[in-house]
Symmetry: C2
């Protein structure tokens, strides 16, 4: 069966990168379509009318949305090469648990979607629901976002949470080369894309992730030796330049 695969994406998105890594791991050829999130394409609005967010994978005309749902979909359709999830239900559940942990703790889940009453700290998120400017921001949330987007106490709290979270992840990694064990898998894909933002976090946050979590850095470097990862993640300095531009654009300095 011929596969027509299109990816709607935005280059600095760690969620989009997950799909790029997954497609590369499976050796799938696809058409990459960059979205301007300030002016979303009719195709994006049609393919993801509920969330209107990238990434969207369009496979033979049918859309699949939400990065972790897409990664599991890719694993199930192209199941013969480099499986991401183990076949054993218990280990599969464990992988899903840790991917969900990353969603909750680093991405801050889906705060941006919820809206709600006048919280200063959620201002950026709330903007996300209203205007075209905010549309650019709604994919960069919470703990990780706060490290580069806030200052003072809020930033310090975010840094502390970020480090705590990565220390817990180090505990889960243990002495294994990958979260998936001997091979690169679902949790590795869910987490590695944040690595492209590490220089940004470190520079704005004025701290060293390696000093706090050396095993995470060793794991990330191991992942980066894989072509599928190295070719899917933008250069850390480019992400940094992007955030500098974004802070200026949104008057966040």
């Amino acid at each position: 069966m011929a596969h027509e695969v299109v990816l709607l994406d935005f280059w600095p998105s760690m969620f989009g990168m997950r799909v790029r890594v997954a497609l590369a791991e499976k050796g799938i050829k696809y058409e990459y379509k960059e979205e301007d999130l300030r002016n979303k394409s009719p195709l994006l609005l049609k393919m993801n009318p509920i969330h209107k967010k990238i990434p969207v994978l369009i496979h033979n005309g049918k859309p699949v949305c939400e990065s972790l749902v897409i990664v599991q979909y890719i694993d199930e359709v192209w199941k013969d090469k480099n499986p991401f999830l183990p076949s054993d239900p218990y280990h599969k559940a464990r992988s899903r648990f840790w991917a969900d942990f990353i969603e909750q703790k680093i991405c801050g889940g889906h705060v941006a979607q919820v809206g709600g009453g006048g919280n200063h700290g959620l201002l950026l998120h709330k903007v996300g629901g209203c205007g075209s400017r905010g549309l650019l921001l709604h994919w960069v949330y919470d703990t990780a976002r706060k490290i580069w987007a806030t200052k003072g106490e809020e930033q310090e709290v975010a840094k502390k949470e970020f480090i705590e979270t990565f220390k817990i992840l180090e505990g889960e990694l243990g002495e294994k080369p990958f979260f998936g064990g001997e091979t690169f898998g679902f949790v590795d894909i869910a987490l590695i894309t944040f690595y492209s933002w590490f220089y940004t976090y470190e520079t704005f946050g004025n701290f060293s992730i390696e000093a706090e979590c050396p095993k995470i850095i060793a794991w990330a470097k191991r992942c980066m030796q894989k072509e599928s990862v190295a070719n899917s993640l933008p250069d850390q300095k480019k992400i940094y330049e992007f955030t500098v531009w974004m802070k200026k654009y949104f008057g966040m300095d």
Copy 2:
């Protein structure tokens, strides 16, 4: 193979109810252990050291955490009876997308876990991270929670969001008897447990869900005709009495 199955749960939890429904659908015998969330058992803290939350399914001594992860686990281990997820990867992805939508829009994702800087509206959540009182609250989040736990503008916004969300879900349900199509499935399990809270939302919010979303009520009644659902959900009035007690206990009036 003999299955030793234990469920750590708290009776008014819609997340715990999901697991109860899933176990009932599969006809699995299990030991139910009620947790006092103000004084969590050593077993809960040992089995879910990361989140310290119910529900936890302990299967032959091994813990599985997070309700939707547990429901998928149950589906995969006991795969021969009443499958929850379709076998086709596209339809499976669609089911996961909608279950995730419910997590994001009704539960408000994982806001409570993230913490962050001084948001008045997140006060209840923030308490959740600190003291024993808060521990009781950390599973009742956002949009749905705000309908009974807040007043004035915040409550009105939550009601509006709640109705909008259920209207979108009505659109997805369409003319099908269940979200899973002809049979009760993953999305039905993810959503139906909120039905036990409907009387609470309606009473505190002073609105009629049936008037706004008649198809959702028809669907819910269809689900309630299933013994697996009817026997797993507490009476709506009992949930209401529980929230009245909780509001008094937390001085929320």
